[in-house]
Symmetry: C2
Subunit: 635 residues, 2 copies
């Protein structure tokens, strides 16, 4: 049975020779115009015959076409039948509606429009009368399939060298893979026969700790495999600063190698999951922070960790996989997200893409909190960003019983203001062994509501309750008694822990307020508040506002992006137009250097109160705390 391929989308369908091409198109999922119902009367179902044998009575339907259309192979698809495998071009006007494929990528809608395309072409062999070059005939056939024109395509030497034998050995039937790059098109491979169904790309989130790769079929846009790997650079230092220092001592080579290895490991897992040969992956899109992407490309990141903190390169980069060292198709391309500054990297730009905030007139605030925080404020017209050190407290560092979000970590806490009875939830329900970031925010908020701590974070040791006691160095509050825990000792939060937490949250809040001041907006103008990264997934939004980690906005405006970096990379992989857009975003963002910002210390100091010195910025929190106070006092 003949296989009919419909262009330009390369939809294939196997049909019998008695099926009309209109029927075939419908089986392939195309909605075809046919006012007359497919009886050769209305002339709306026009298509163009590109290759292969078909039956069609050109004379009978002459009147429907101009000479030019006839020359281009115009047919009425309801009256044409495939005799053999053939390629048929469907012009847009023949479709009931434009068949742009909208993809839902982790919550964001985008159009399927990858930068890599495959063209299966049946090249006309040369004759004495048409002795044009192999390359020209190949490119001519590609442009006949609605591909780029011959002059637009750059063909590297390596490909030129295989073209003559490939054409002849394949009986003049080859598949060319063409990448659309910022400055034109580039042929990245030529293969025998029809391989157009195998078109794969990977989106990679290159994190400091973990590397995640999503493998997608670029013909359908769907994820077909996911793989993740530790960032092997950890052997050169846990945090990114120590890795840069490692590179200063021992050179960049090892760090680059490890970054490349980690990405290759994640991609290999994803490819194995999908049962795809790694060599069939044509493209990788990578989002990572500025230092990580510098190290991946062996560009010296040293100057980013000293004043005045400048990256070598900010803009997006496109390089061949071979040059970067990635184990995909050697001439495949690698796209690396642009950065705004050394502290606002490609990962944050990808977060912005994932949020959609750069396309909306609504003002959004995007916050990524870890050891460092990054904050972006803006909409489709303007954007500001800043970054700074949050300190490790919100990730459990510098807190006596603080820990990362691992099993046994207290992640949710509620306290009865009357009895100070506690309810804890731990990760995986295990006996508590410590407390992680989201739990700490809860403790802070609940202690404040219970009037155990005041707005400066001091524990009221005049309250007589077994949970409130003087510890070795500081007053402390007991979260779990030793027989309840998995570590055989009481788990407490000390006044010093609380001070460290407040310092962390104060700097994040100050950053938000400085950007809001810069833009001249108030918290009421913020229509969406996005949490990027893992932190937002578990945090109690109410409590985050109560302690003044973030400005007060209605809770339903707070959205968890989750892994926004991965999501943004996936969107750019699927829709090449987003790549130009990410550069625009990166250029458009006004970076506010907090170290050079005179009001920062002042805003920071104001933020060291819970939630802030100025309660008019937190009116709902003020009311709620007042109610709590009354209730506690009434007790």
């Amino acid at each position: 049975m003949p296989i009919v391929t419909f262009l330009p989308g390369f939809r294939k369908v196997e049909v019998s020779t008695s099926d009309s091409l209109m029927t075939a198109a419908q089986k392939a999922g195309l909605a075809i115009n046919a006012v007359c119902g497919g009886v050769g009367k209305c002339g709306k179902c026009v298509m163009f015959h590109k290759s292969g044998r078909i039956r069609f009575d050109t004379e009978r339907f002459r009147e429907f076409f101009s000479q030019e259309e006839r020359d281009a192979g115009a047919i009425l698809s309801c009256e044409a039948y495939p005799e053999d495998d053939c390629q048929i071009m469907v012009p847009e006007r023949t479709l009931i509606q434009s068949q742009q494929i909208l993809m839902n990528v982790m919550g964001q809608e985008t159009v399927l429009n990858p930068s890599i395309r495959k063209y299966y072409v049946q090249v006309q062999p040369p004759t004495l009368a048409t002795p044009t070059s192999d390359l020209y005939r190949l490119l001519d056939a590609i442009s006949g399939l609605d591909g780029p024109t011959s002059k637009q395509v750059y063909v590297p030497l390596e490909i030129l060298r295989v073209i003559p034998s490939m054409l002849r050995d394949s009986g003049w039937k080859v598949t060319a893979t063409i990448a659309r790059l910022p400055a034109g098109y580039r042929m990245i491979e030529i293969e025998k026969g029809d391989t157009s169904s195998q078109l794969y790309g990977a989106a990679v989130d290159l994190g400091t700790t973990t590397v995640v790769a999503f493998l997608r079929d670029l013909n359908t846009g769907q994820v077909i495999g996911v793989g993740s790997a530790y960032n092997k650079q950890i052997s050169c230092g846990e945090d990114i600063l120590s890795r840069v220092n490692y590179s200063k001592r021992k050179g960049l080579g090892r760090l680059q190698e490890l970054a490349v290895d980690s990405i290759n490991a994640a991609i290999t897992l994803a490819a194995n999951n999908a049962g795809v040969d790694r060599d069939d992956i044509c493209e990788v899109v990578i989002a990572g922070n500025t230092i990580m992407t510098h190290m991946l490309l062996a560009i010296d990141p040293s100057y980013m960790i000293e004043e005045p903190y400048v990256p070598v390169v900010r803009r997006s980069l496109t390089a061949s996989a071979g040059r970067v060292g990635l184990s995909i198709k050697p001439e495949g391309s690698v796209f690396i997200f642009p950065a705004v500054s050394d502290f606002i990297g490609g990962d944050i730009v990808a977060d912005i893409v994932a949020s959609g905030m750069a396309e909306s007139p609504d003002i959004s605030l995007l916050i990524d909190i870890g050891t460092n925080f990054e904050v972006v404020l803006g909409n489709n017209e303007w954007m500001f960003a800043c970054a700074g050190a949050a300190g490790p407290a919100l990730e459990g560092g510098e807190v006596l019983f603080g820990m990362r979000a691992n099993p046994g970590a207290i992640e949710k806490v509620s306290i009865d203001p009357a009895t100070l009875d506690l309810r804890c939830e731990t990760i995986n329900g295990k006996k508590p062994v410590g407390i992680c970031g989201s739990g700490l925010i809860d403790v802070l908020a609940e202690l404040l509501r219970s009037c155990v701590i005041d707005r400066t974070g001091r524990i009221n040791t005049t309250i007589s309750h077994p949970r409130i006691r003087q510890g070795e160095y500081f007053p402390e509050f007991v979260l779990a008694w030793k027989d309840e825990t998995g570590i055989g000792k009481d788990i407490v939060v000390t006044e010093n822990d609380i001070k460290n937490l407040i310092m962390s949250k104060a700097s994040t809040l100050a950053a938000c307020i400085i950007l809001m001041n810069q833009a001249g907006i108030t918290r009421e103008d913020i229509k969406n508040l996005y949490f990027a990264g893992g932190f937002g997934n578990y945090i109690n939004k109410d409590n985050a506002i109560t302690v003044g980690l973030i400005p007060e906005v209605p809770v339903d405006r707070i959205i968890n992006l989750g892994n926004g970096a991965a999501e943004g990379a996936n969107i750019a992989l699927i829709n090449r137009k987003m790549r130009k857009f990410v550069d625009d975003i990166a250029y458009r963002i006004g970076y506010v250097e907090l170290n050079a910002e005179p009001t920062f210390m002042d805003e920071y100091t104001k933020g060291t109160f819970l939630p802030h010195t100025d309660l008019t910025l937190f009116p709902m929190v003020e009311k709620s705390l007042e109610l709590c106070r009354l209730r506690v006092e009434a007790k």
Copy 2:
């Protein structure tokens, strides 16, 4: 004494601090507008201060400039003085006339506009307040010198990797080398300090036998060194066909290597001549025949020697020197001339450039004769070309005493029709050892004028003269008696030699006539007839017409191009705009395949008469032969 550099042309001059910048500019050879005579009154001598220290009273001359101009550093050059090394931009309007430098390249005029530029920039170091990336600051400085804008320049990974240390180690003073490629700009090197005076490129004629390299200073356009080398591929076969057969047996690798080696050898000689480091050469432009350039790039040429004779690639190619294997700057670029067909190669396209025929409305005929002939007919609106085998006779092959144009070869011959006395000139004046192409044409013409041979080339053995005799196989004419020669035997031309010569000239003439018919023109329409290659340098133009090697045109319209391939390559090296033009030329030429041309055999047969069966095509020759006949008969 301060050195002042005038942009955008990078003209440098050393002057005293009491010389005004106008004086400095005049010393640097710039013609500056100064209606008031340089006394600060007319405001015509405006320049822009870009870097370094100068003295200029901005307030005093405030009225002459807009705020925007003042911000850009506008000064009146007659009232400004250098304090230290500085860079001054001279806008075009300040020059009395546009300072486009016209170069005379081997007889053709072209504009100095190389594709490679160097930009010496003093980059602003970053501060906390301006923490833009290294790359951006570098590119910004370049665009400030009238260079391409930041977004236009592609910077390969290898360069990105050295930028941060290079900027800091040089005190932020670097020279960036930027190539303009077909699809944008590419940074190919960054160096410490000011190296802008060292900007070199090479033009290469890649011949089957010889490779010639011209090294040029691209700041001035002048040739500073020439080198030539044998094409080392000769070890794989003397003629190009045997080399292609060698590649079929043993692969292309060796042939590529030898082509690269030969070019490197010629470039090295040229660089040594000029005292230039080979690594300072930024660009090479290469013109060669289609098979040679395919072999240079390791692209299989096999299919060019079998029907239907198709090259793999026709269009011009730009590749990095590293990928091609040339020993210049590794990121330097290599431009290879486009071909029209496998028989009309980049060497012929370069000939066309050298002739200027593609820019003129006058119709020209260009002929390159060797073992093969290539013929191009046309003007700035249309062009046709064809090629074919001339046979070796015109280069001395298949002729009993034929030889190449080496010392001792008879190169000029005249015969007294009355006495058949001979006057021969040999190359280097040595005793004759054989006869080369130009000598053979002379013999043919002179024997015809003396009625020793008839128009079919038969020797009239009825003439009783010692020089006319029956040889071993054929009748023959004695050119030199054995005691006059350097080989101890009589040097003769046989009737068979004459037959072979006529076959060679007949195919060349047929090609010319077919193109003329194709274009619908007559010999009177031909305004220029160019001989490319060595053949034209020595040939007697009158005799070439008399024997019917070329159509009859007035002799003063015949021009020897000499090494047109080298000339064309030099023009494209100096003026990058010609590169787009050569692709246009190559695309524009209609290639006429003589093997597929039904009238070829007919035209060829007509051409086997001297000069042609139809004497109305050679009216002057007819008259002159008639006069000769009368004179001989009157004797």
